[in-house]
């Protein structure tokens, strides 16, 4: 089929080879200087780095909050903070990690940086909108910080009514902050969709699109379809507090379960906003470090879209005990299991890609393996929670806490770290210490499992979540878990040290340290301000490791601005050799 298509509307192009410049003197990091140039940049790479700085800050804050929680839970009764503080801390840990770290992490940081590079474009379609989305994020964050310092919020990140409508504290500032943040997410998604459609380099047909971009594309679709519903939900909640409109507050005739429908219609797909771009990264990393054609390209690409779609139909599995109708429970349980299938397909395809590959266990690959293991556990425990009768027992216990940490942290954060280590040389033109990176990864793996495996057992034993005090029976589990959290803390400190060291004194990275065939590795590290001095022309798929590197560096000299994406291209053999 693919060949037919190519024959029918193929365009002949005269191309030559453009070898990437090694150790470029001028690149995007030094071409424009000064803090003002950074704050007003419309360059997608710099905006990606601005996001990287911000989410690192919030990850640090959220992480410290997590350690506070774990420390408090060392003893069954109060250890060092009171119940009210504890409730605020877990609310903030959840809200910050989800809205300020997980959701923007892969799309806004790595996506922003890599997407135009992988498309062979000079920037995203709407660079100023891209910058605006960053500042919207900052304003949203400012509102949230304002809420923290003016009374705090103790509702849990889910803001369930009627508690959130009646509790004291500055819930309005917080929900308003998250409301604003939603627009940042929407604008990023909008930008990516249009960019992927309109700004592909000649030859990047849909079947040559890197899987990372399929992941980002699916994510963007979820962002634009789900986030507006969060916006209206939070707006209604704000109005509930401001004007007592009563739609969600039973004291005024409203229905709290309706709020949960509103909330989870966004917040379940949001889980896929977090994890689907991670799938994209893992596909890139596994193929690159196995130096092998990805197995089942279309299976992986389409399963991302399938997950994005089915992910919209399953929100009610957060509400099995909430008092929704049995019919809804049945339908939601059924649909929930269907999400498992495309997820399984991905895992098996990745394994098949490794089969007979040439596997180089560099840090990104190590993280990808860790991802595979932890995410599989997260997936299986998801099956457990999807089963209606078992969920009745496990709902709102530590089992759920452990499950989503396996998916979010074991899945998404590991994928993010894989991506960060993978693209780090491209971002900064520096290598990091492979030795310390692996040590840190190993410690993180151990610490993670120490923290969250005991929580599965506690949860199955009946330990409810969001508990400040607990019965003595659970103390040893909690203590083990807390030690694990500190081990993870150590891993992140090591990571911070070697990454900062890499920035300051790291070895210069070559343009393509991993020997990847993907387009972003065929330009210098770090890239120049406008990415490409030529118009890249793509003749092979991004994972065609059986073809020589020279065929991946083709292009036409830049005689004009951007490029059209529509047609497939073919380059005759003689031209290739000429190159």
């Amino acid at each position: 089929m693919a060949t037919n298509e190519e024959n029918s509307n193929t365009k002949k192009l005269q191309v030559r080879r453009f070898k990437p410049e090694e150790n470029p003197e001028k690149h995007y990091l030094n071409e424009e200087k000064g803090i003002w140039a950074w704050m007003t940049t419309v360059d997608h790479k710099k905006i990606g780095l601005l996001y990287l700085g911000s989410i690192t800050f919030f990850f640090f804050v959220g992480g410290v909050l997590a350690l506070l929680l774990r420390t408090e839970l060392l003893t069954p009764a109060q250890s060092f903070i009171d119940a009210d503080t504890y409730n605020q801390v877990f609310t903030l840990h959840g809200a910050i990690m989800i809205f300020f770290f997980l959701i923007p992490s892969v799309p806004a940081v790595l996506g922003n940086f890599v997407l135009p590079l992988q498309l062979g474009a000079k920037d995203v379609a709407f660079p100023r909108l891209n910058l605006a989305s960053y500042y919207i994020y900052v304003i949203g964050a400012a509102f949230t910080l304002f809420a923290i310092f003016t009374g705090g919020v103790d509702t849990g990140w889910t803001f369930y009514t009627p508690y959130s409508a009646t509790t004291s504290g500055n819930v309005m500032a917080m929900t308003f902050g998250v409301f604003i943040l939603g627009f940042s997410s929407i604008l990023t998604g909008l930008n990516f969709i249009v960019t992927i459609h309109k700004m592909r380099a000649p030859g990047i047909t849909w079947n040559k699109l890197p899987l990372n971009l399929w992941g980002l594309y699916a994510t963007s679709l979820i962002q634009i379809l789900a986030t507006p519903v969060l916006a209206i939900t939070l707006l209604l909640l704000t109005m509930e507090r401001l004007l007592q409109i009563g739609i969600f507050d039973p004291a005024l005739g409203g229905d709290p379960v309706l709020y949960q429908h509103f909330f989870w219609f966004y917040s379940h797909p949001a889980v896929y906003i977090m994890i689907v771009p991670g799938f994209g990264i893992i596909s890139e990393v596994i193929s690159t470090f196995s130096r092998k054609v990805i197995f089942g390209y279309w299976a992986i690409a389409l399963s991302s879209l399938a997950i994005a779609f089915i992910g919209f139909l399953v929100w009610g599995h957060h509400m099995f005990t909430a008092g929704q109708s049995s019919l809804a429970n049945m339908v939601f349980s059924f649909l929930t299991f269907l999400v498992g299938i495309p997820t399984g397909i991905k895992i098996f395809n990745w394994l098949a890609t490794m089969y007979r590959g040439s596997i180089d266990m560099k840090t990104p690959m190590l993280y990808a393996q860790v991802f595979l293991f932890l995410f599989t556990i997260g997936g299986f425990t998801g099956i457990m929670l999807g089963a209606l009768s078992v969920d009745i027992h496990l709902h709102d216990t530590y089992y759920v806490v452990a499950h989503f940490h396996y998916v979010m942290m074991g899945g998404m954060v590991m994928a993010f770290l894989a991506g960060l280590h993978y693209w780090w040389p491209k971002m900064f033109g520096k290598m990091y210490s492979e030795f310390w990176a692996k040590i840190s990864c190993a410690i993180l793996f151990v610490g993670f499992n120490m923290t969250f495996l005991p929580q599965f057992v506690m949860g199955a034993q009946g330990m409810p979540r969001r508990y400040f005090n607990y019965i003595d029976q659970f103390q040893s589990f909690h203590q083990f878990s807390t030690i694990g959290a500190y081990v993870m803390g150590v891993a992140f400190v090591i990571m911070a040290i070697y990454l900062v060291h890499s920035l300051l004194k790291g070895k210069r990275a070559s343009s393509n340290p991993w020997g990847s065939r993907a387009l972003e590795w065929q330009i210098s590290s770090p890239p120049s301000l406008h990415n490409f001095h030529h118009v890249p022309v793509i003749v092979n798929g991004p994972y065609d490791y059986h073809k020589p590197m020279s065929e991946f560096q083709l292009g036409i000299a830049a005689s004009h601005n951007g490029h059209h994406a529509e047609e497939a291209v073919s380059v005759s053999q003689s031209e290739k050799e000429q190159a």
């Binding site: 379960v257 429908h261 809804a328 339908v331």
Partner: protein
């Protein structure tokens, strides 16, 4: 992929006229009391027709790229999903009643 469709003034007036007529009809049918639930069905049907006319001929989706059409359809589809699945809960609740 014609992004620059130019409609004639006559055509645009015609579209507006159709919309005015439909507005009149939707008000007029409330004078002849149609029984529940058909009155809602008729009202919504007319609104859908009006909306489609606006989308197709004022917003030029009729001549627009397939993907923009797809986007529009997708938004409606997901909106219907949101409503349809939520109604599976809200319409089918059976609450117990205490006997004392």
């Amino acid at each position: 992929m014609s992004g620059h469709h130019i409609s004639s003034a006559k055509f645009l007036w015609g579209v507006a006229l159709a919309l005015f007529v439909l507005t009149f009809i939707t008000v007029a049918v409330t004078w002849i009391q149609i029984p529940e639930p058909w009155n809602i069905v008729v009202a919504i049907a007319i609104a859908v027709v009006k909306a489609l006319i606006v989308v197709a001929f004022f917003m030029n989706l009729w001549w627009d790229s397939k993907f923009n059409v797809l986007l529009f359809i997708m938004s409606i589809a997901f909106f219907l999903l949101l409503i349809g699945i939520t109604l599976l809960d809200t319409l089918y609740r059976v609450d117990p009643v205490p006997s004392f």
